[in-house]
Symmetry: C2
Subunit: 149 residues, 2 copies
């Protein structure tokens, strides 16, 4: 069977959605060429809690709904409770996995699985966009706090 | 000339984009029926500064780009420097103007202009969505600050 649609997989927390997120997702989708499908895995609150030691500001259901409301996104799914990357790849069957400039752990982890399983998929790293202010959730939080003080 | 497409106009600051914004815009667009076009006016930093005494967290260009990246939105424009509602109506020529539950000033202002000029357009008020947490930018800011303290 010939597969006609290229599927791109991207993932992230997407707490306090900002313009850097949009650019990341748009750039990721370009790697699939015309008609590509972009599936986004939105990290669960519990996963963020484990990785960063504190939960995101916005709950998982709202983060997922907001990402799915973006024109560039075809489908947004919550991650598996245990952030099982192999299970995600098996389910989505992506042709391309896009990782962000600050997703080094996910990049290494993905490349390991791809090599180990001999999967036919490309891993692409998306650059950071501009040096603008407020292109990260933590900078946005910082500004809110400094305004308040 | 028969006008085929119904144009809905909505407006707001859209600082810290959240799920309540998406619901507002989706609900607004429904008032135009199938094939409606949704145009959103995003308030300029200077306008927010004048109305609220402080600027938004996210600069106007990024707020506009984020709103335009939403699937439900056909076009997002920055407001006029002086928030000239008449000029906006003249330019967009909306069939429907949607106002949010917390946009009473804009509602009154719009209804006045419509009555005064005898314009053929409907003004619809969109309800608040749910009693969920974090469906407003100020609640999100509050949570960020209380987490930090």
């Amino acid at each position: 069977m010939v597969k006609n649609v290229t599927t791109i997989l991207a993932s992230g927390v997407f707490d306090l959605l900002h313009y850097g997120h949009i650019k990341f997702l748009e750039e990721a989708k370009k790697h699939g060429g015309p008609g590509a499908k972009l599936v986004v895995i939105v990290a669960r609150d519990e996963t963020v809690m484990k990785l960063k030691g504190k939960p995101p500001i916005i709950p998982e259901d709202q983060r997922r709904a907001l990402v799915e409301a973006l024109e560039v996104v075809d489908e947004a799914l919550l991650g598996f409770e245990e952030l099982d990357l192999e299970a995600v790849i098996e389910r989505i069957k992506p042709d391309v996995i896009a990782v962000g400039h600050d997703q080094n752990d996910i990049e290494v982890w993905t490349r390991d699985i791809v090599a180990e399983k001999g999967l036919e998929l490309r891993v692409v790293k998306i650059g950071r966009f501009g040096k603008e202010d407020l292109n990260s959730s933590s900078k946005i939080k910082g500004k809110i706090i400094s305004d308040w003080r």
